[in-house]
């Protein structure tokens, strides 16, 4: 079958969404389909928010099937359109109150939000099948657009390389160093714990995190190596005591699944969204209130009882070990 995978392009950004697009395209190709990835740039400010949806709407797509992944690629028109939704434009929905959203409470913003909601309802209603990547996204779609969808989980990147290893003396957090990922919480938690922390990844907060670590005298237990290779990341997972991941209302969160595949428990926060679909307090990890005190205590508790940490990690591994791309491909193309 000729399949076009459709995804938005935020120029100069490469994160989880881009990895998913690439991995889905590869999985469809591996299943014998003639598959290509189509991307159109998107702008997220409300004054330009409808430009890219209109471009998708008028772009010819000649294929047997199109699979649209995120805003605004699902505006593509095709009689056989399947949507596997990563996210909508969150700034107009669940994150409308966030600092970074420009959808305020003025009349213009509210009318743009209303129009976007209507456009989304129409474009998403056209789908012959409507999936999402997580229960969090499914719930948002129901709450904001009144549309029913089905959650379709997929394995994270490096799934075939991650494996359990010894329990070391550090907590690991592979993440972009940006506000919505809240890496600062880990730095603050170190002041209430005796463990080390390794936070990999790049972002605008790198310098600020280093300075804060110095200010509260935990810089000797914090490593910020920046970008690390896949091989190094696999090794860091394998040798960690635990993984800590406390983003703000995450859509899905590869880090959690990668941690479990490496047999590590996950320390998270009660407001971390999709992470909580996997982390069950005391079963596969520890769910804190996100405070430095509770997170620090969680680190120490795991360090003090590594057998318990191993049991949590193994329970997590059992939850995700069956995830595979074959099931995803079958669901999207059948």
């Amino acid at each position: 079958m000729d399949i076009l995978v459709c995804g938005a392009q935020k120029p100069f950004m490469h994160g989880g969404a881009e990895l998913l697009m690439e991995n889905l395209t590869a999985a469809l190709t591996a299943a014998g389909h003639n598959t290509e990835l189509v991307r159109i740039p998107v702008a997220w400010e409300k004054d330009r928010i409808f430009d890219s949806p209109l471009a998708w709407r008028t772009t010819p797509v000649d294929a047997d099937l199109v699979i649209a992944l995120n805003f605004p690629s699902y505006f593509v028109q095709h009689p056989n359109k399947v949507v596997w939704l990563l996210h909508q434009h969150r700034g107009a929905y669940d994150a409308a109150e966030a600092d970074w959203s420009d959808f305020g409470l003025d009349d213009y913003s509210i009318e743009m939000q209303r129009q976007l909601t209507e456009w989304d309802c129409r474009a998403l209603s056209e789908a012959t099948k409507l999936f999402t990547i997580s229960d969090v996204v499914t719930a948002r779609l129901a709450q904001f657009n009144g549309l029913q969808s089905r959650t379709l989980y997929h394995p994270p990147p490096l799934a075939d390389r991650l494996a359990p290893g010894p329990f070391g003396d550090y907590v690991l957090s592979p993440t972009r160093l940006e506000q919505n990922k809240r890496p600062g919480r880990i730095v603050e938690a170190l002041a209430h714990s005796g463990v080390r922390a390794v936070i990999t990844g790049r972002g605008s907060l790198a310098e600020q995190l280093q300075e804060r670590a110095k200010a509260i005298s935990v810089d000797d237990r914090l490593e910020l190596p920046g970008f690390v290779s896949d091989g190094d990341l696999v090794a860091l997972f394998a040798n960690a005591l635990a993984v800590v991941y406390t983003p703000a209302d995450e859509d899905y969160g590869y880090v959690t699944l990668q941690a479990f595949l490496a047999g590590k428990p996950v320390v998270t926060a009660a407001d971390s969204g999709g992470v909580l679909e996997w982390v069950e307090d005391g079963v596969t990890g520890i769910v804190t209130d996100g405070s430095a005190e509770q997170m620090g205590a969680a680190f120490d508790k795991l360090a003090a009882d590594k057998d318990w940490a191993a049991r949590l990690g193994e329970a997590g591994r059992r939850k995700v070990i069956e995830l595979n791309w074959e099931t995803v491909v079958e669901s999207l193309t059948s």
């Binding site: 004054d47 330009r48 409808f50 430009d51 209109l54 709407r57 008028t58 929905y93 409308a96 409470l105 003025d106 009349d107 509210i110 743009m112 939000q113 209303r114 129009q115 909601t117 209507e118 456009w119 309802c121 129409r122 474009a123 209603s125 719930a139 129901a142 709450q143 904001f144 657009n145 009144g146 549309l147 029913q148």
Partner: protein, 297 residues
């Protein structure tokens, strides 16, 4: 003299016309030029044919209207089949698209669907309660338990978390995307089903209870909001019926008409900034009143 850019509908209509066909012709005439083909030899963009007394110009796409089974036998080279009776559409053997003429009694062109979240944001912006039940009826309007002037009916319909409507207001409520509670007779009259398009309560007390529940359940309210709006467009709205027919039978002439149609199909209001942006981005004409109008000038 037919203005440039206006769509021209030619009529080849004979015999006593069914009322629904008259309503349809009248509605089409609000935005297109309608000409009777008796002696007319000018340009036509498409034809509406009922018992075909006049010649159909070569190349003009033709929509054939069926009022009974005998009409099926008269159909020749249809581009579209129309009928108020689904059984007649089913009986007509053709590959042409078929459009069911629904009751389509209302013209609420300005009714924009407000999902529950934009409603909530409007209330926040205005300093109103976070959840409010409204009531819009022939006898009275109620906002958050207080009887208010009927001039606030429209405001209630687009800002309340849930609305109790009667027969006089229910279609406008659905057009506005209001999560709606109504009585059994009204629901039956508009073809709305309980918990699919509206919630139905047998007495006022029950309707108030159902509305209060909806006001606290955004997912259920959002589902009813969109399903109710869809019912409004598919069954009760004359402009949407006309658009379905025109989209099925005519192809947009040129990029401006194509983008105009795309924007209209997404529900884009005439004053939406994207219309002006599209005109600029795609360097398209913006002749007001034209069928190819993209944006405000």
């Amino acid at each position: 003299m037919i203005p440039t850019g206006r769509v021209v509908l030619g009529l080849s209509v004979g015999g006593p016309r069914p009322a629904e066909l008259d309503h349809l012709i009248y509605a089409i005439g609000r935005q297109s030029v309608v000409v009777n083909m008796d002696g007319y030899t000018g340009r036509v963009d498409w034809m509406l044919v009922f018992r075909s007394p006049f010649r159909i110009p070569d190349g003009a796409p033709a929509a054939w209207y069926l009022a009974n089974r005998a009409d099926i036998e008269q159909v020749r080279r249809p581009s579209l089949i129309l009928s108020g009776d689904q059984a007649l559409l089913d009986a007509c053997e053709t590959t042409a698209p078929k459009v069911l003429i629904t009751p389509s009694t209302v013209r609420y062109d300005d009714a924009r669907p407000y999902a529950p979240y934009p409603r909530q944001r409007i209330r926040r912006a205005r300093g109103l309660p976070s959840a409010v039940v409204g009531e819009v009826g022939a006898q009275r309007c109620v906002w958050d338990g207080h009887v208010v002037d009927p001039k606030f009916a429209d405001t209630i319909l687009i800002t309340a978390s849930a609305v109790i409507s009667d027969q006089a207001s229910v279609l406008l409520a659905l057009g506005c995307g209001a999560p709606t509670v109504t009585d059994p007779a009204t629901a039956e009259a508009i073809g709305a089903r309980h918990d699919e398009h509206v919630r139905v309560g047998s007495d006022h007390q029950e309707r108030q209870r159902l509305a209060a529940e909806l006001a606290d359940d955004m997912a259920a309210a959002a589902r009813l909001s969109w399903a109710g709006r869809t019912l409004f467009e598919q069954v009760h709205s004359m402009p949407h019926l006309v658009a379905r027919i025109e989209n099925a039978i005519t192809k947009p002439a040129g990029p401006a008409a194509r983008i105009s149609r795309v924007l209209a199909a997404l529900g884009t209001p005439d004053d939406a900034p994207i219309r002006a942006r599209a005109a600029r981005l795609y360097n398209l004409p913006r002749s007001a009143g034209s069928a190819q109008t993209i944006g405000e000038s």
